[in-house]
């Protein structure tokens, strides 16, 4: 096999985009596994698809309108029931902005 398609540096960059922390061991394993999978996917380059439209929905969709009617939604309690941390009726996260909180 030629040089891997995905280097450890690329893995680290993509992991950052995906908000996944990876260990050195994981990064090196992912580089080799993903390169192996992408090598297989090179087969698609044998096809000329320049004139072919992409499929985003396999079954053609309509975009129907519905009545703009009020419907029951989740109560605040129900929506918050699964939250790891709730403060004052909201989802709580670590401080985002700097300075004194």
């Amino acid at each position: 096999m030629s040089e891997p398609k995905i280097s450890v540096d690329v893995v680290r960059h993509v992991a950052r985009l995906a908000r996944l922390r990876v260990t050195d061991e994981e990064a090196s394993a992912l580089a080799s596994q993903l390169s192996h999978v992408l090598d297989h996917m090179d087969e698609l380059n044998a096809l000329d698809v320049s004139e072919v439209p992409p499929t985003s929905h396999a079954i053609p969709l309509d975009s129907p309108f519905r009545e703009d009617a009020v419907r029951e939604g989740l109560s605040r309690e129900e929506a918050l029931a699964g939250a790891p941390l709730e403060i004052a009726g909201g989802f709580a996260v670590p401080k985002v902005l700097g300075g004194e909180g």
Partner: protein, 491 residues
């Protein structure tokens, strides 16, 4: 060989007539789970109280003379990526462990309304990503026909539960074969409906342009009964289509005479396993015997399906799984910094295969690679759809094996992700084309492992698939030759 009993239809009838109570049926299912699930690990959660309560309600409704639904008293297990109100739903992931959804999935709601008794939540590959259940964070499911082998995946728990008689039917979800492949490995009928036929509302999303909910049952007629209940338009799913749901049970009674079956010759001949080949030959003989006409068809681009699927599905998954960030539900690993909290939560909450797919999908969508990977895959997807359009000019159903081999042993493919992906080679093309596809049992190997045949239909033409599957089942069905024998339980 003969058709198995339609226990779903028969149970609903018996409960309606008062020959059995729903509570009796439910207790029988709970007792079987108690007795066998230690060995199988098909269930992640058994809802004993909820099930008995639902069964009592059916019996009370009957006592009051109220009309009963088409699934009255039928025990059904639900794949654990379908939301069940107040009942834990984890997707077999540490990141959702213990989460109790505030609402029911549309298909779950419809089952309840039809009188079904939901006995519990079944094990799967984490977030439905896998072909063996070996990616479950809570241990794999064993194949009831041979405990040293995988049940298939990702809906392996739902397939095994029905095969072992722990529930009379179950629901799974199929993105690239996750209902059909475990159906084939466990010797049960498995239905992947047309994309848009069954609502995805409450199905925790993996790849939104491919995901569909589908049933597992012992018999084809039972699957028809379930499909009549779960299919139909739902305004809460924007891809759910407004189409009338035909009488699928009636389709099971239509003779297969005159049906044109297109045999994907290259896929049948690509099978190296002699026993799967023999089962395919027997299936073609059975269809000829039933009066069907066989024609050869080709799907020239189907061989690219693995590449296309693992780009499209992982790209969509990387986006869908962004919602698991430790804020609104599930696991949070506390950190002082928001980004560190999210990264650490996802690092500890997701298993290796889920991370691999998120990484592949993020890469395929990232700046500079979109045209080369994702867009290209979507274009080849169009070519695969066109192959089916051409095939359906000369036939009514397309036939191929469901899988290249019968159920494989634990650990056989875990070292090589690509080898595991290639197990899906026959189930991926119909998924990419959005078409309905069934797996129907069509024989046993000498070692006693089930083999399945895959039938693919035109969009929304599940009825013809029921007709063809019933013809195969009548001649090659596994009868009462049940997987439960392998559990030392001939009852």
């Amino acid at each position: 060989m003969s058709a198995p009993r339609s226990i779903v239809v028969q149970t609903a009838e018996a409960v309606r007539k008062g020959e059995r109570t729903a509570v009796e049926v439910c207790e029988e299912s709970l007792a079987r789970i108690e007795r066998h699930d230690g060995a199988l690990n098909a269930f992640l959660y058994v809802d004993r109280e909820g099930a008995l309560e639902a069964a009592r309600r059916v019996d009370e409704a009957r006592a009051k003379g109220e009309p009963l639904g088409p699934l009255a008293g039928v025990t059904i297990a639900i794949k654990d990526n379908l939301c069940t109100r107040g009942v834990p739903t984890s997707c077999a992931s540490k990141i959702l462990e213990g989460w109790r959804p505030p609402y029911d999935a549309d298909s779950v709601e419809r089952l309840r309304a039809a009188g079904a008794v939901l006995v519990g939540k079944t094990n799967l590959d984490e977030f439905a990503m896998g072909s063996s259940t070996e990616n479950s964070a809570f241990g794999p499911v064993k194949n009831p026909w041979d405990l040293s082998r995988v049940p298939g995946g990702s809906s392996g728990g739902s397939a095994a539960a029905v095969a072992a008689g722990l529930s009379q039917a179950s629901l799974g979800s199929d993105t690239g074969g996750s209902v059909r492949q475990p159906g084939a490995f466990c010797g049960v009928t498995a239905v992947k409906p047309t994309y848009g036929r069954v609502s995805r509302y409450g199905l925790i999303a993996f790849a939104s342009s491919l995901d569909q909910v589908g049933p597992f049952t012992k018999s084809v007629r039972d699957a028809a009964r379930l499909m009549e209940v779960i299919a139909g338009h739902d305004p809460r799913d924007a891809t759910s289509l407004e189409r009338e749901v035909p009488r699928y049970e009636a389709a099971c009674d239509e003779p297969a005479k005159g049906l044109r079956v297109g045999v994907v010759r290259s896929q049948v001949e690509a099978v190296e396993d002699a026993e799967v080949r023999a089962a395919m030959d027997a299936t073609l003989d059975a269809l000829r015997d039933a009066g069907a006409t066989l024609v050869d068809v080709e799907l020239p681009h189907a061989k690219y399906a693995v590449s296309v699927y693992y780009l499209v599905a992982t790209a969509e998954a990387s986006s869908n799984l962004a919602r698991f960030d430790g804020v609104r539900y599930g696991l949070r690993v506390s950190r002082d910094d928001l980004v560190e909290m999210v990264e650490e939560t996802r690092a500890q909450g997701f298993g290796p295969e889920v991370k691999r797919r998120i990484m592949l999908g993020t890469y395929a969508l990232s700046a500079g690679y979109y045209d080369a990977f994702y867009l290209k895959a979507q274009k080849v997807r169009t070519l695969i759809r066109r192959d089916y359009d051409a095939a359906f000019e000369v036939c009514d159903v397309v036939l191929s094996p469901t899988t290249p081999t019968p159920a494989f042993e634990f650990g056989a493919r875990t070292h090589d992700p690509l080898a595991m992906y290639l197990a899906d080679i026959f189930t991926l093309p119909p998924s990419l084309a959005g078409l309905p596809a069934f797996s129907t049992p069509c024989g046993l190997t000498k070692g006693g492992l089930p083999v399945g045949v895959q039938l693919t239909g035109r969009p929304f033409d599940e009825a013809t698939l029921f007709r063809a599957s019933a013809a195969i089942e009548a001649r090659l069905g596994l009868g009462e030759h049940e997987a439960r024998a392998f559990l030392g339980d001939k009852a």
